[in-house]
Amino acid sequence: MIMEIRPIFASMRKHMIPATLIVLEIALACAVLCNAVFMISQRVSDIHLPNAIDEQSLVTVTLRGTDDKLAGSDVPRNLAALRGIAGVQSAAVISTLPLSTNNWGWSFGTKPESTITDQSTTNVSLFFVGPGIDKTLGLRVVQGRFFNDDDYANSSLGSAPLPETHAVVLTKSLVEKMWPGQPALGKTMYTTGHYYTVVGVMADVLRPNIGGQNYSTAFFPLGAAGSKGVQAYYVMHCDPQDRDRIVREAELKLATINPGAVAKGQTYSEIRTKYFANMSSMAWMLVLVCVVMLAVTAFGIVGLTSFWVNQRRRQIGVRRAVGATRGHIMRYFQTENFLLSTAGVVFGMALAFGINAYLMQHYELNRMPWYYLPCGAIALWVIGQLSVFGPARRAAAVPPVVATRSA
């Protein structure tokens, strides 16, 4: 092997420009590839963020334009009607849903003097939930309990946009953020004029808008009578195959019994897909660019190596004539490509790292994990070897007799 590398270097020195071009091309491709794949993986992990509700079994209808004062009688009547639809296993109302973009945020502190603008407070998305929501959404309570009938009956919305109650259920991530390493049950969170005691902790449910703290979600009980009509989302749990039919039936039913109001139904999967539509289109775009870029790089290597082989037909003939086997010739070009790729990959990794650092400074992007760099390197090594295979074989096929022809 060592014996073979020295003549390769000698030949490269004579063909500085094409050699530099291959190195440059591989370096650029490596840098762009690493960053693009990293961006894709970030989007994909966002798109697949876990969400502790039965997403595949949920159907929702939003009802707007009803008389807020009649919510106390309207909501139970509407729910009873929805439960009458064949296939609906349970139904409940809620003020918003994860990923619905309909966010109601509020800041809470862990001390009584916390005010809304204090630095040490945590911004939380508020969900006002009606009876039966735990079963309907398929929430998993991991500590304590969910709300009971008294909690719902004793809660209402007053003139402030916060419910007049003292019970709250938080997600696991949120209690860990607010009271790190401490048992959360019985702890109290405060804002000016209101305080709430944690009665239960549930598995992580996403906020209506993600970004930053994805699971800072708080559920508050709210009975229909005191709800002022803020619980506009009617949620139903059903078998996944019944979803489309139930969306249509539920929408029609609510529209019929609430003349003058506007009912709009969708499955939960649709809400999630809609939320991530931009992200998934970006991911697809990046994939397309990566594939095409790798193809272009491969073509470039094929083109340059073919030219190279053609230029050196006589030298190859001489080597064959003095005893080199086809294998030797093949290996010569493969080794040469490997050396060039290695140089390219080294520059490429440095460049990839630099681009990532730049993007981190100017955009909301995380640091690229180290293993992206060797993975990108391996990908380009493989592509280099694949593209050199054809030209190398043609080089190996050069008969020794070429050496005897006058050039």
């Binding site: 650029l28 005010t115 204090d118 003058g260 289109s281 790089t297 470039g300």
Partner: protein, 435 residues
């Protein structure tokens, strides 16, 4: 000379179809990808109201208490109701309008239509002339109507088509939020992109269907949406509850025709802030901003980061394609060393050879540009299929069409420089001898 070089270039390109094809493909792919993203960027960063964007300003005040809701030095992005009304009544600008957004249920009189929600803008009389909203029928309401809490409405053409089949509906009435409103005007198709006067609604492809007087909305307490930011113990904004005094939730725009007027208005804002502080309403030192439309869009970073990233990536890709083209062109030119040697020996200068080779590169660039254009059109079609809010806007305009060819030609000529220079270094004698 030009014609001769062109002929030579075409002959040479035809001889090595494979290599030529690869070069054209690489250029076309690079140009296609980068032009697709550049067009999206161009469309998104365009001027929503050309010709007037330099005269329209967005005043910002800082009414927060000392704790505030943000730690930044910038004043809030919107105004409180009190400040908005004060500035509106002061009438210190050529035109001014206070506004916020919402949605209201519409009960059609036609029995075959179900009730539906329409997007609403609650604003004041100057809105229409200030933003040059085009009227199909009728006009906007007047300042007197604002003061009288008139139940006047201006509707969009799409809603007019839906309710009245496109007929002139001025003078007829429509039921919104349980109240009857008189139609005073119908707007022709109008959708500024981005939706600069209120960026909380989503910046692109958003248009209101009804425009209602803000003062009437306040009286009737119609539902609003959009963002409201509060400090101190303020809150509100829940169904039917308007945000409290310690909340900013309205947008205020002014028209100032000359830079002198803009400077004077900024002074007025400073004096206003000082007066409010003296009166005890403001607690902070006067902190005002007066940005025009483009500055306001810039400040709000309206172009999605994703689009900027993708554009950068597309240019990275173009660079890879160019390096690739340099390599292929080098291979091609060097292979013709013999032919070039003969030309040199017959008396062609290096400069002539250089020109000939660059002509060849230019032809590749032009053909690649055509391919790139087709690919960009295909790419934009793909973008339009996506559900992003800006997707529908992704179209190639003449400026970008022209830019495609310029970019393609410049890129290939640049890529051709090194190979052409290298090929011109050939010693003619050596080439002649070896053949």
């Amino acid at each position: 000379m030009f014609g001769y070089y062109l002929d030579l270039a075409l002959r040479s390109l035809k001889r090595h179809r494979m290599l030529t094809g690869l070069m054209v493909l690489a250029i076309a792919l690079g140009i296609g990808a980068s032009m697709t993203m550049l067009t999206v960027l161009h469309v998104l960063s365009g001027d929503p109201i050309p010709g007037r964007s330099a005269q329209l300003y967005y005043p910002q005040l800082d009414p927060q208490d000392l704790k505030g809701m943000t730690s930044s030095k910038e004043p809030p992005d919107q105004v409180t109701l009190i400040d908005g009304q004060n500035l509106l009544r002061a009438k210190r600008a050529d035109r001014q309008a206070l506004m916020t957004g919402g949605s209201v249920p519409l009960m059609p009189e036609q029995s075959m239509l179900d009730p539906f929600y329409v997007e609403a803008r609650y604003t004041s009389a100057d809105f229409f002339p200030m933003f040059e909203a085009p009227f199909l029928y009728g006009t906007g309401w007047t300042a007197a109507d604002d003061d009288a809490h008139a139940r006047d409405v201006v509707i969009a053409r799409s809603l007019n088509d839906k309710l009245f089949q496109g007929a002139n509906s001025v003078g007829r009435s429509v039921r919104l939020a349980g109240v009857s409103w008189r139609i005073v005007g119908v707007l022709d198709k109008w959708q500024p992109n981005p939706h600069f006067y209120d960026l909380n609604t989503g910046s692109f492809a958003y248009a209101e269907q009804v425009f209602l007087p803000l003062q009437t909305m306040l009286e009737l307490r119609l539902d609003r949406n959009g963002s409201s930011d509060c400090w101190g113990n303020s809150g509100g904004g829940a169904a039917g509850i308007l945000p409290m005094d310690g909340c900013v939730w309205l947008q205020f725009w002014v028209e100032l025709d000359t830079p002198a007027k803009a400077a004077a208005y900024k002074d007025f804002l400073l004096r206003y802030s000082q007066d409010q502080k003296t009166a005890g309403r403001f607690q902070r030192a006067p902190n005002v901003r007066l940005r025009n439309v483009m500055q306001w869009l810039d400040y709000n970073m309206v172009v999605p980061d994703d689009v900027r990233l993708q554009t950068g990536l597309a240019f990275g890709f173009l660079l890879v394609c160019l390096v690739n083209t340099v390599g292929l062109m080098l291979a091609k030119f060097m292979r013709r060393a013999g032919e070039l040697g003969v030309r040199r020996a017959l008396g062609a200068s290096r400069r002539a050879l250089f020109a000939q080779l660059l002509m060849e590169a230019g032809v590749v660039g032009l053909v690649g540009g055509v391919g790139g254009l087709l690919l960009a059109m295909f790419g934009l079609w793909l973008v339009r299929q996506r559900p992003s809010d800006y997707a529908a806007l992704a179209h190639l305009d003449p400026a970008m069409l022209y830019a495609t060819f310029v970019l393609s030609l410049c890129a290939t000529l640049l890529a051709g420089l090194l190979p052409a220079w290298r090929a011109c270094q050939i010693a003619p004698a050596l080439q002649l001898k070896s053949n």
